[in-house]
Symmetry: C2
């Protein structure tokens, strides 16, 4: 009784002492020491800033207050933080030595000390202080009546200087608000580079005053004005994020060539109508905006001075919109077909002594370097730009791997050994909808290669890439988040932070907090499922979505022509996400059961099986008024069929016909239905073996 009283007492006065494992921090800090105490929040809580920080910390501190208030409902008195040293007596003191420069190698470290009556953030720059504020928000705890921070000392800094996300806005245009909420999310997990893929075969997305034809002809009206771009750059800056624009050349050139076909490489042979006169006249091809996905041949003509004239004028307009020091010029997937068949280009190569298309592309890329230098930008490109004679100033973006027939991250090692700085994206292609573990286990620092310290230093970090062939504004967030938070941790935290169970546990909270911040990865699923079910009660459909995952890799939209960019992305596969929640839970249940066939463990498994039998019946009911559910029924039926058999086997202890079971199992392995796969296949297999 005494013990209970004491517990109650400390519960009221302070709080049950929290353990490190209970914290849902992500990325996990470099060092954290919890002490025995709490800082209890109340509405008088205020923030004060000292030192010489950039004014972005004022925006950051104000946003921090609003988010804290939104979570706690405390009606914090302080509305806006508007200047340095405004409230010297404030409970939260942020001390910054100097103005943080947005870019690589800046000091982003911070120290966060939570005492029971005071919180102190010490950081060299405001960028570190912003990170500290995110950590502090993640530290927030509560008991039944109040919110508090556990007392602690945290020392933290990033492992890599480049922690990026690329968003492709060419395939599916993404409005300003979508970009902004993703920048918010990036800042929340301490990412600092937004790589903006602005141009591709499917669209040109930048307003150009001097070349309005580009958006007029190649954007369907979907582009960013220069003012909007500047607005995004400012918004990113306020969150400590560098924006790296990309204009992809010389391949992926359809959009540019729609407006300027005269700088294209393709030769058209205009045969005269009569068979007699075999005269050939070469002319200019016309290009039309690509609606499919894939690799296409439209390529800029590197032998044409007009190409460089145009690009130079484009850079002159685009570069000043971005305050950062890097410009990505793409350079990927140029197959050079149109170069091979163009006699003028062949002649040019001979004249310039360029032995092959690689050398020709290097020639091309080298022309861009001074155009960018003029605006104080360094050139960055996908790994294909790394050929003999490429300037060592260029940053190599390593993206190829097993899918492309080369060892994962091969170009990364080649780059650093060749003297280039490099950023890793292979392994971080979040658009391919792999599970989070696949990304979390990829480290930019190769383990099986001996590198010198200098070479290691050239590995700047990594970047999650979100290509948007299959993602609209409605689904984009669910393709990036929450998985990218795990990539953020990989790039920030110590390399030894690798516990996948800890990650999954923390990711649940992070995911929910991200949606709190404005993302839509959870809530838009409901919108899609409601439409698919025709506004019927869709619990069964939701249950099914929790065991299904969209087809991975490039196996959805095979060949790139099944879907066009304007196709409906409102299907079941679009509502489903990687890491299907019930599939993960079922796997855990199966593992427990196989380890120990207690009744309790058995029930964990059979509850799922019963649920799926029931679900299938309900889906059939729903489908009577929902054509979009029809394509799901074969897979649901397969799951129901095997579940029924397994129930017989497990509950009634009857032995099952192994050939029947293996047939049923393989039906659950089908990828032929509705662009999804059953994520429970592997777990079912364990039960059958």
């Amino acid at each position: 009784m005494k013990y209970i009283l004491i517990l109650l007492f400390t519960g009221i006065i302070a709080n049950a002492q929290i353990k490190k494992e209970q914290l849902d921090l992500m990325p996990w800090p470099q060092s954290i020491n919890l002490t025995q105490g709490t800082f209890v929040l109340n509405k008088n809580f205020k923030v004060n800033i000292t030192g010489n920080p950039n004014s972005r910390i004022l925006v950051g501190a104000t946003n921090f207050l609003r988010r804290l208030d939104g979570r706690t409902g405390l009606f914090l008195q302080q509305g806006f933080v508007t200047k340095i040293n405004e409230v010297p007596t404030a409970e939260l003191q942020i001390n910054c030595v100097k103005n943080g420069k947005i870019g690589l190698y800046e000091d982003e470290s911070y120290q966060l000390e939570i005492q029971s009556n005071k919180i102190i953030i010490n950081a060299t720059t405001d960028l570190g202080a912003l990170h500290a504020l995110e950590t502090l928000l993640q530290m927030l705890q509560n008991n039944s009546t109040s919110y508090y921070f556990p007392t602690a000392m945290i020392t933290d800094f990033p492992r890599f200087t480049w922690r990026g996300i690329m968003i492709d806005v060419a395939r599916h245009f993404q409005p300003i608000d979508v970009i902004k909420r993703n920048l918010d999310a990036m800042a929340a997990v301490k990412m600092n580079v937004f790589h903006w893929h602005l141009v591709d075969d499917q669209g040109w997305r930048i307003e150009l005053k001097k070349h309005p034809k580009l958006t007029e002809m190649a954007s369907d009206g979907n582009y960013y004005t220069q003012e909007e771009i500047k607005n995004i750059v400012k918004y990113a800056d306020e969150r400590g994020i560098l924006v790296v624009p990309e204009i992809d050349v010389p391949g992926h050139g359809t959009a540019i060539l729609m407006a300027y076909p005269e700088i294209g490489s393709k030769v058209v042979n205009l045969n005269s109508d009569s068979i007699e006169s075999k005269t050939q006249v070469s002319g200019i091809t016309s290009y039309s905006l690509e609606r499919n996905a894939g690799i296409f041949s439209p390529t800029l003509d590197p032998s044409n001075p007009k190409t460089y004239q145009l690009l130079s004028e484009i850079f002159d307009e685009v570069c000043p919109l971005f305050s950062g020091s890097y410009f990505h010029i793409g350079g990927d997937e140029n197959e050079g077909k149109d170069w091979d068949s163009n006699p003028k280009i062949q002649e040019f190569m001979k004249r310039k002594k360029l032995a092959n298309n690689h050398e020709l592309q290097t020639y091309f890329t080298m022309q861009l370097i001074p155009m960018l230098k003029k605006h104080h930008k360094e050139l960055m490109g996908w790994e294909e730009i790394m050929t003999k004679n490429m300037s060592k100033d260029a940053i190599i973006h390593s993206w190829k791997g097993v899918n492309e027939g080369v060892p994962a991250g091969k170009s990364l090692v080649d780059a650093v050994k060749g003297g280039y700085k490099t950023v890793l994206s292979n392994g971080y292609y979040v658009d391919l909808v792999y599970g989070v573990e696949d990304h979390y286990t990829v480290d930019p620092m190769p383990k099986d290669v001996v590198l010198t310290e200098q070479e290691k230093a050239r590995i700047l970090g990594g970047e999650a890439t979100m290509w948007s062939e299959l993602a609209t504004s409605t689904t984009l967030d669910s393709r990036i988040w929450p998985r990218t938070a795990a990539i953020a941790e990989r790039l920030w935290s110590d390399e030894k932070v690798t516990d996948i169970n800890s990650l999954r546990k923390r990711l649940k909270t992070v995911s929910f907090r991200l949606e709190d911040l404005g993302l839509t990865h959870i809530k838009n699923k409901d919108v899609l499922l409601r439409n698919i079910s025709n506004n019927q009660k869709y619990q069964a459909l939701e249950d099914f979505s929790n065991v299904c995952e969209p087809l991975k890799k490039y196996s959805r939209n095979k060949g790139g022509t099944e879907y066009q960019m304007y196709s409906p992305f409102t299907l079941f596969a679009d509502a489903c996400t990687p890491d299907a929640s019930d599939a993960l839970a079922f796997d855990a249940a199966v593992n427990s059961y196989l380890k120990n066939k207690s009744l309790e463990n058995q029930v964990l498994v059979t509850d799922f099986l019963k649920k799926w039998v029931d679900m299938n019946a309900k889906l059939i009911d729903l489908s009577a008024n929902a054509p979009l559910i029809q394509p799901l029924l074969p897979l649901s039926k397969s799951l129901s069929a095997i579940s029924q058999q397994l129930l017989v086997g497990i509950v009634k202890k009857q032995s099952l016909n192994s050939s029947v079971m293996s047939d049923l199992l393989e039906q659950c392995n089908s990828k032929a239905h509705a662009d999804v796969e059953l994520a429970v296949y592997t777990s079912l297999k364990k039960l059958i073996k």
Copy 2:
């Protein structure tokens, strides 16, 4: 057996014949005749346009295709509609005689004929054709495997020419994407005026190149650039919507006066420090941005020529951003306190022979008319501008009613009798969170007053007003929608369309379709409840939200000082909405039970009562880890207590102590908890009587 076969057969070939009552059209069309047939959709479905429409119909038709595709998942082949008569053989033919002019009195009528193999839209203008496309989308039906339109002939036109929504972006700024999604929703229910309340005591939201101080000092960085405003006007135009900007003067002037205090009316008496020297010097007051809600005194000085100079310059910059012919100058709630106490203004009134503040305000308003005329804009203002000598060209916006101590819509009748055109907003204040029935039963055409045809013609229509003291971007949609769709119907459909049960039934579908279109009124509730519950399973909290409604009228945030504009609007009251769904269902159950105490009807009632007892227990559990649930417990406990008693009374047929019951009932009538009220109070009362 024969009968069943025939049913199956028609089910496959055609579809069960649908009845008018099954259609979820809103606003209900003027005339609709269903015939015996169906137009079955397939992926070859195409659209063609003929005649001389405005090019906005190309955007409209393309959007129509994408929305149809999103709902059906058919992968419609036609991507973009880019010119007139592009696909002469298309199944959907849209014929427009002429270019629609955005503004009042334009022909918005259409005829929509759905045949079994062809759909024909005939409209005088593209504006009518856009409405027809919305109706066609609402006509979409399905069986188990396909989507179809029932064959029909619809003839339709609006009853009123002004069908508007006002959104206040001064109290809480609303980003561009929030405005756009609300414009989409307006178009979906055939509304055609967006009244943009851009300026108030809490903020100035328009970029001015000549007067940058306004946004620098009075916007907290939250304002629209001129480019963004033009972008919104274009977006609205493409949806057939007129944009009417409002700059509220001479009252509600804090934001303007922050930047230009010299044109304020307040006199400051600068007493010298020493008591001896009683000299008074008058000086300029400084103003600070208002963070509370209410009516404040800062008012422009109508005696100061600089006031008119500034306003003229502001109109010169702002007017050209808007293509429409109307400009709203506010004019409301000027209490004239600062005028009374300003000797200079009193002297001015004497000189100009202005007998009182009303005449002074008329003098002020009349100066604005030529400033607007210069830009071909007519002046509109809230009803306070209607005083003796006000120009008959001005449009009077009728807003006062019982809350303001006058009969509902009094000024509307005064206006039309006085020769003014008028728009009704009294009864359409959606921000006051009344139930939908309260708005649906308000008709702009007064029933108890005899008006001439000319007078009736001056009633232009009505406008839902969404003041934003208590609404952020997260909650705004749920305060406007779906209820405003009922107002849209009132303003479009025949006056005899008044069946509230039909409305409620159709509104369910409309609500869901609006969210499909991008609104957030359903899904953001989950985001808020998840935060309140601390990411625990929150079914009980959701159940509770379905019987609670936010405090109505002006009873939340009493006095305007409990909440500031930066307060957290993430509370339970923000998640709740009017027309709480379980409250409506419970009321229906109670009515059935009281009519016929069958066991079946009894169960309908007792299921709810049991649910609430259970819910209370679960809420208590949840609250152990969720401080934000604590304030809800007293109300949940009251509901549980009375439910327990009623169960005893109903199920066990025990008689209940009437004084105990009436005490318990009154506890359910409390408005003292968490800014919400129990929406089941009236129904419970019926059970106890």
